[in-house]
Amino acid sequence: MRAVLLRDLRLSLRQGGGFGLSLAFFLLVVALVPFGAGPDLGPLAAVAPGILWVAAILATLLSLDRLWALDMEDGSLPLLATAPLPLESAALAKAAAHWLATGLPLALAAAPLGLLLGLPPAAMAPLALSLLLGTPALSLIGAFAAALVLGLRRGGPLLPLLLLPLYLPTLLLGAEAARRAAEGEPALAPFALLAAVTLLSAAAMPFAAAWAVRVNLR
């Protein structure tokens, strides 16, 4: 498992594309929103957690279609699928590598970027926490969806459509947790539910992804 994780991390660092692109896209969206929304920081601060969460989801989507497709294109997937490492573990390792290369940098960059949206300093820690808890679910669910569209010639454009409903619970809970904590309301419930979504994804998605890859390899 470590071998797959390290390989995917090394590839995403070396090829650009994954790591840099998602982060740059995230920065761009968050930096552009204040210009589009006008100079009044009041309403902007109210929706800042939501904007940051939506931007994080869009940035994650950007690199997801490469998760399995690159291995399919260059022919390494058959050998990976017949390796002694169960494909389920490989799926988990790939999702983890994807999260380390996209989700983690996004979660760390989100709080300082919140300044641009007028996010009060007290809200930064809960926002970063909600992204840290929630973005692993995005990578795990994404690994499954990316495996589903693997057999299609142009599966990339289908991926966002497929993921839209699957990402909704994570987005709702994540943005709600960050918003409640920012406004000083009790936020334990959404945080706990968000963690539950991530844990459930970690338990189920590797199996679903491995199943989808196997079907596509037949």
């Binding site: 797959v4 390989r7 070396r14 050998l79 037949r218």
Partner: protein, 198 residues
């Protein structure tokens, strides 16, 4: 031991080959012959366990399958590519492999900069790095020059002498003492399959 009895093989949900029976003992090889599209690749993928047999029984040891693609990451070096496949199969990388496939001078080159023949050698070395007993080679000689083909055969004979097995799909001549299996007589009748379905 690789053994098949009454094996039928499907591609895209349709049987392409049927009634295949063969046995390859350890140290033996089997050469698949047949025209384009007869189902050589489908048979190799079934032997690798990527697709379930359509019918019949199949007994196969752990296999390593190489398709038409090289399966190398262009951004990783030759050495890193081989190291990954060795580690994935829980083995250290045998340094003599680099010499066996004449990859030692290319060790630190990114795989994306290799020529077609060099990439092919990396693809074959990758299979060797897995240490799997059964090798499934789809057109291994494509893009290889004479010297590289000889090197591959030399390594393959050593693999077989060590008790390994190999199934190869080749079109050209192969200087390997192995029985050939002509797949053309085993081609499944698509109309017959349809009639059985109806």
């Amino acid at each position: 031991m690789l053994a098949a009895r009454g094996l039928a093989v499907a591609r895209g949900g349709r049987p392409v080959l049927e009634g295949l029976s063969f046995a390859v003992p350890p140290g033996g090889a089997l050469v698949l012959r047949g025209p384009n599209g007869v189902g050589k690749t489908s048979l190799l993928r079934t032997l690798a366990g990527l697709a379930p047999p359509w019918a019949g029984t199949l007994q196969a040891p752990d296999a390593a399958y190489a398709g038409h693609l090289d399966g190398a990451k262009p951004a990783l070096t030759v050495q890193e590519n081989l190291l990954f496949w060795a580690r994935l199969h829980g083995r250290p990388l045998d340094p003599s492999l680099l010499d066996a496939f004449a990859l030692a001078p290319l060790r630190d080159r990114p795989a994306g900069t290799l020529s077609a023949g060099q990439g092919r050698r990396l693809a074959l070395a990758r299979l060797a790095a897995t240490g799997r007993p059964l090798l499934l080679l789809d057109e291994p000689l494509a893009a290889l020059d004479r010297a590289s083909a000889d090197r591959l055969l030399l390594w393959l004979r050593a693999h077989l002498a060590g008790g390994g097995l190999a199934v190869l799909a080749v079109h050209g001549d192969l200087a390997l003492d192995a029985p050939a299996l002509d797949l053309a007589p085993h081609a499944a009748d698509p109309l017959g399959a349809e009639a059985a379905f109806l």
